[in-house]
Symmetry: C2
Subunit: 227 residues, 2 copies
DNA sequence: TCAAAAGTGTTGTCGCTACACCCATGT
DNA sequence: ACATGGGTGTAGCGACAACACTTTTGA
């Protein structure tokens, strides 16, 4: 990115979801500048004049986690007059889904400044970040019903149980295991890798990967994925 | 609105849908300033520094049609670098649903500058307005499946046939009349006004109004309205 | 009495829900 | 052999799709 001007009244904020220890979590960073220095907040950033808007969250994700080609969705625009204390700033909210095993937090210098927090333990946030976060979570819950995007939160190879636990965490309810498997089998978006887990102290589960082609066909047809 | 500064790099654009002559239409205005003077375009506007973002489309709607409390939904942010030719402007797209019998176009001086155009006859548009328009139509089609928002396009009192024609126009397909009525009866979002049409040269249809309470309950439950 | 739109029921199919037990593996 | 999670089938019910004729009204 070459040196260029930031547009100072337009920012983005990003809710980065991850799935770890059977829980849906989001990534927060501790603000190291005023205003609200010291509070945990959503990672955000400003737009360069010569940068596409959609590039901004992608760039921030890369800076923060090193990840590229992250799944990103727009949450919406947030533009109340006083949402930012110092001047008028309108922000576009996004959410990202990342596989948190691709991004284990550094235990180095900055470790205490970046944290995964379970979505039901999110602390008070600065500005309107609580509103943005809530909107993101609502959108995510809505979107997983209509598109099987959840796999973005899992490693390349995963088990059906992992996928189910994920859906249970997102939707915050128990799902019947047999029905879950049946439905997956019917829609056929999983590729059986004919591989098993290793080194687990119980029956080894089959591993699957995600079939994007099939997924796209289904989304076009307006399929719904209710569990 | 008192005199105050416009934020010159942030605008809104609005796709205003109406339903007339059995067709889904959108409102376009002829640009009377450069750039792209003379082309039909989406009505848009800039944000005042002391004005909430969501107020902008509402204000524009009011200016343009005289209507207040219009149903508005955000379509998304559009922020390609060169989307606007003269300087960097990021725009937030909205769509509005209005009852076009509340707003019959003036046949006065400005008449040729504002036009309802059927959604499948939309001409070439300036900037990225085609992209915004397409996104709005896609969102509308998606939204009517999950929320019975269509009634916003109809007068206060309407017949089931009108509602059906509307859905057919939005979804662009024929719907079975008996199944449509059955489904409506089951979900119970219509209030039977025990009134009939007048002065029609055929059997007078029953009039209904919309039951918002019920609607809200249903939306919370995540009901889907497939036809 | 004709034209034009309103309104009404039934049947078959498909998909969802609910529900309990055996299997494979490591310790 | 036991503990742990993996993986499987069926029956009943409710929702949806397909389908054609009678009713009301004004002209």
């Amino acid at each position: 990115m070459k040196e260029s001007l930031l547009i100072d009244n337009l920012s983005i904020d990003c809710v980065i979801f991850g799935f770890d220890e059977g829980k849906l979590k989001a990534l927060f960073i501790k603000r190291n500048t005023e205003p609200c220095k010291g509070m945990m907040s959503l990672p955000g950033g400003f737009v360069y004049v010569d940068e596409d808007l959609t590039h901004v969250p992608a760039r921030r994700l890369k800076d923060l986690t090193g990840l590229k080609n992250v799944f990103l969705r727009e949450v919406g625009a947030f533009g109340k007059i006083d949402r930012y204390p110092e001047r008028r700033v309108i922000t576009i909210g996004y959410y990202a889904l990342i596989n948190s095993s691709d991004y284990k937090l550094d235990v180095g210098a900055d470790a205490q400044d970046v944290r995964w927090i379970s979505v039901d333990e999110v602390p008070e946030l600065p500005f309107d970040h609580t509103e943005i976060f809530d909107a993101a979570l609502i959108k995510l819950r809505k979107h997983v019903r209509y598109e099987p995007i959840g796999y973005n939160l899992l490693p390349e190879k995963f088990t059906i149980t992992q996928l189910q636990t994920l859906y249970e965490a997102i939707l915050n309810k128990k799902i019947d295991n047999r029905n879950f498997r049946k439905k997956l089998a019917k829609i056929g978006i999983l590729k059986d890798l004919k591989e098993k887990q290793k080194n687990v102290s119980h029956r080894a589960a089959n591993l699957y990967s995600f079939n994007k082609k099939k997924y796209e066909t289904l989304v076009e047809k307006g399929y719904t994925f209710d569990f």
